[in-house]
Symmetry: C2
Subunit: 215 residues, 2 copies
């Protein structure tokens, strides 16, 4: 009976492959890649080893697939909600930073950035993982640069938006790292405030260029 009940319940559930990725996403984020055993993933996904290894022949294949999922999730889960409630292109950048802040709040600053964690843990030793992490960073960078390009007319004329987007990502990752190490939002808030101060100066400078005669 419990087997039948299980089957009925499972009808509405996600397919096995997705359940594995769900479990791996949570556990890798919370404990790291090496520290998370396959057994823990199996338990959380309620599966046997064979099922998992049918879809992911090795643990590395699993984390690679997870990074692909992050790549496809960036737009619908991170970017779109921000763009929905904010239209100003520069404010959208800070909206993304605020979205990350909410994640820090909801995890009490304990977990940090799932991609950044994998970046530091595996870039040395797992070249394929490193490449996919780099692709994720590229996509983040491109999203931020898109905002900056859209607000280009309010920035100083010779602004390098690619460089500035890289800088925004740098600040985000560095700030999340410190927040995680200090278990406090303060370093994050301070860093974002300082980034805001920089943008204020860039915007002020550009508006001076536009109406220099008025002074």
């Amino acid at each position: 009976m419990s087997r039948a009940q299980r089957w009925i319940d499972d009808q509405g559930e996600r397919p096995t492959r997705e359940r594995v990725l769900d479990a791996a996403m949570q556990l890798f984020h919370a404990q790291g890649y090496t520290a998370t055993g396959i057994a823990a993933i199996l338990e959380r996904a309620d599966l046997n080893p064979g099922s998992l290894f049918h879809f992911f022949p090795t643990k590395e294949d699993l984390v690679l697939a997870l990074l692909d999922r992050y790549l496809t999730l960036l737009d619908p889960m991170v970017i779109a909600p921000v763009f929905e409630r904010i239209t100003d292109p520069i404010e959208r950048v800070f909206g993304i930073l605020d979205g990350y802040r909410r994640m820090l709040v909801s995890t009490e600053c304990a977990l940090g950035c799932p991609i950044g964690n994998l970046a530091l843990e595996l870039s040395d030793t797992h070249p394929k993982v490193r490449a996919k992490v780099a692709a994720n960073f590229d996509q983040w960078c491109a999203a931020v640069r898109g905002c900056l390009d859209a607000g280009r007319n309010r920035l100083p004329p010779k602004t390098d938006t690619d460089r500035l987007a890289t800088f925004v990502l740098t600040v985000m990752e560095g700030a999340v790292m410190q927040a995680k190490a200090q278990r406090s939002l303060d370093p994050y808030d301070q860093s974002v405030a300082e980034l805001r101060a920089y943008f204020d100066r860039l915007l002020a400078e550009a508006s001076d260029w536009k109406k220099p005669r008025s002074s």
Copy 2:
């Protein structure tokens, strides 16, 4: 004979405890904490298990001692060499960033920041490690803040040097992470260039305050 020879050779060598820390420092930096087995440390230090566990009862004790070493090494290995060749307090901040750049060059961007790596890998699960990582970050922050305070008169009057120092550390860590993920100096150089652009504006703003009549 080989034993006697070994003994003679060892006379000039570092004590056991230091050799363990040397080996752990290299291996944790290159492979991470969890991925480095005690056996690998023993092999690199040319020791038996008992010797290591005599000084460090658990693996966690070992990484905690390593973080203490980083704390004591910061000044003589990182700060002092920069202060020796640069006197301008603001330039000293960028001298520290340049020192880190040299480390990236010498490791081909593969390893990143040893403290940052431990921060992301272990902060979730090892509270004592997290606390010592935080102490390391605090000390880095204090060193940078010291420079900023020394150059205070050239910064805008109401500059929060603590916040700005946190920001510098944020940029450093975030930039190193991206350099490691991309295996390229570009993200680091771009981020530092952007930080420099911010400082240029802060310095220009402050000098406007000082001589507003001359314009």
